[in-house]
Amino acid sequence: MAIIVKKPAPLTFWERIYLPAILKGLGMTMRHMIKTLAGGGVTIRYPEQHKRVPNNYRALHVMPTWEDGHIKCVACEMCSTVCPANAITVHAEEDENPEIEKRAAFYEIDELRCIFCGFCEEVCPRDAIHLTKNYEFVTDNREGFLYGMDRLTKTGRLVSELEAKENKDR
């Protein structure tokens, strides 16, 4: 089987002296430069600007409370059972309110173990745990990533801050 090799046409004079092609290339880089200078480019200047994340973005958890401040969680331990990363620890105790029966005495999420799959949110029968859009919760020690109930009930406030930032930037 014969393979027909198509040779490219020989370069014309203007192609061989490079200069038109160089000028064309210079034009292209200049166009990009002007575009970037005029439109500010495509970069999101992160610490000052924030990317708008989708509403189903999964980051730091929050444990919502009722209007009276009582935590919604009933310590059924569904979340810690379903958690594929074993990030959730729950210890139950009896609640004074006979209608609630159980509440969490100790509830802790290790955000370093968490894989942010959202199963805990899905499985919760009382809508008592959510994943927020707040992805900015770095600290410089491992203990700082152990979120107990005291902190988890307050992270909802951070979400509204994040949304305010997004709206300001865009």
């Binding site: 160089i22 210079l26 880089t29 200049m30 990009h32 430069m33 970037t36 200078l37 480019g41 970069t43």
Partner: protein, 365 residues
């Protein structure tokens, strides 16, 4: 000491201090401009953390270089290893001595400098001018070769060999391409060349300024290309090649010694921009604009601004081309230098010479 001699020496020292201060500041901000413009051309933002518009970035870079550990590898030739960065830096700084920046101003009527008559905006007005630049910038190749040799490292040696072969090849074109300019203006002095460019080409219906770029377009192009190769900028940055020879001749250098090589490269580009402006773009003069009637200070300010703008354009061109073109392969570089640019430079020289023979024998133009 004779007061005239004293005045000359003091004036020269002041000029050296000023020129070097401007040159180093220029180099610092040139590196910032390189980073910013390259970012813009690639749809990026570039450095923006240090001060407004990253204007403190060069300062931060400098401090970083100063604070780095000054490592001398045990396998190098210590004396030459330490001398090489200086040998790269000194020619780069020395060439600026003959570059004029503006017309001379009359000296103050009284005081120390009165005996001088006028103050030139040029460190040394020597009549070999451009020849001096070629002579001194030809020494720059020693810094590169010695850096590669003293490093006792095969990549550094290969890099320095490539760099020196490239510099020597393109120096020929550099020298030959500018001979046409000397024929046209009949001088080697840069300030005289600039002065000659204020006239107009007379025999055409439209008055065209007698700039080097107009009378020697091919010479300008060849000079520009050879300058890119001499300063080892893209598309001729063969001395550096991460894939083949690591960083080239300065692979063993760090901290301030590396910074000197970078300073040398960037000051080469700034001085090359200034020289091209003087030779081909009419220096500090604008056609149809007569600045000589202005008061001395305003005139000098205007001329310095014009000069800076023209040289700044070429400085920007270095960046612009770098972020546009890919590099040549080494054999392509040599073929371009020896088989294309050098014959063209000789042809340009012969054509210019023939034109003047015809002009003077027949008497046209």
């Amino acid at each position: 000491m004779d007061s005239a001699v004293l005045a000359t020496v003091i004036l020269a020292l002041i000029k050296i201090a000023l020129i070097l201060a401007v040159l180093f500041t220029g180099v610092a901000y040139y590196s910032l401009a390189e980073r910013k413009f390259s970012a813009f051309m690639q749809d990026r933002i570039g450095p923006n953390r240090c001060g407004p518009f990253a204007l403190l970035q060069p300062l931060a870079d400098g401090v970083k270089f100063f604070l780095k550990e000054d490592v001398i590898p045990h396998h190098v030739d210590k004396v030459l290893y330490l001398a090489a960065p200086a040998m790269a830096m000194i020619p780069a700084m020395a060439t600026i001595a003959v570059v004029p920046f503006a017309d001379p101003i009359p000296a103050p009527a009284s005081g120390l400098f009165a005996s001088l008559g006028q103050i030139q905006f040029q460190l040394a007005d020597i009549n070999v001018g451009m020849l001096y630049i070629f002579a001194v910038s030809g020494l720059a190749v020693y810094g590169v070769v010695i850096a590669g040799w003293a490093s006792n490292n095969k990549y550094a040696l290969l890099g320095s060999l490539r760099a020196s072969a490239q510099m020597i090849s393109y120096e020929l074109t550099l020298g030959l391409s500018v001979l046409g300019v000397f024929m046209v203006y009949e001088t080697l002095q840069l300030d005289a060349i600039v002065a000659a460019q204020t006239s107009f080409i007379s025999f055409l219906p439209v008055a065209i300024p007698k700039w080097g770029i107009v009378v020697q377009p091919l010479g300008f192009l060849l000079f520009l290309i050879a300058t890119f190769a001499e300063t080892s900028r893209l598309p001729f940055d063969l001395p550096e090649g991460e894939a083949e020879i690591v960083a080239g001749y300065h692979v063993e250098y760090g901290s301030m010694k590396f910074m000197l090589f970078m300073l040398a490269e960037y000051s080469h580009m700034i001085i090359a921009s200034a020289v091209i402006t003087c030779l081909f773009l009419g220096g500090w003069n604008l056609p149809w604009v007569d600045m000589s009637s202005l008061p001395a200070v305003q005139r000098v300010a205007a001329q310095l601004a014009v000069f800076t703008a023209k040289a700044g354009f070429f400085a920007f061109l270095f960046i612009w081309v770098r972020w546009t073109l890919p590099r040549f392969r080494y054999d392509q570089l040599m073929r371009l230098g020896w088989k294309v640019l050098l014959p063209l430079a000789i042809a340009n020289l012969v054509a210019t010479g023939a034109f003047y023979v015809v002009k003077y024998t027949v008497g046209i133009g």
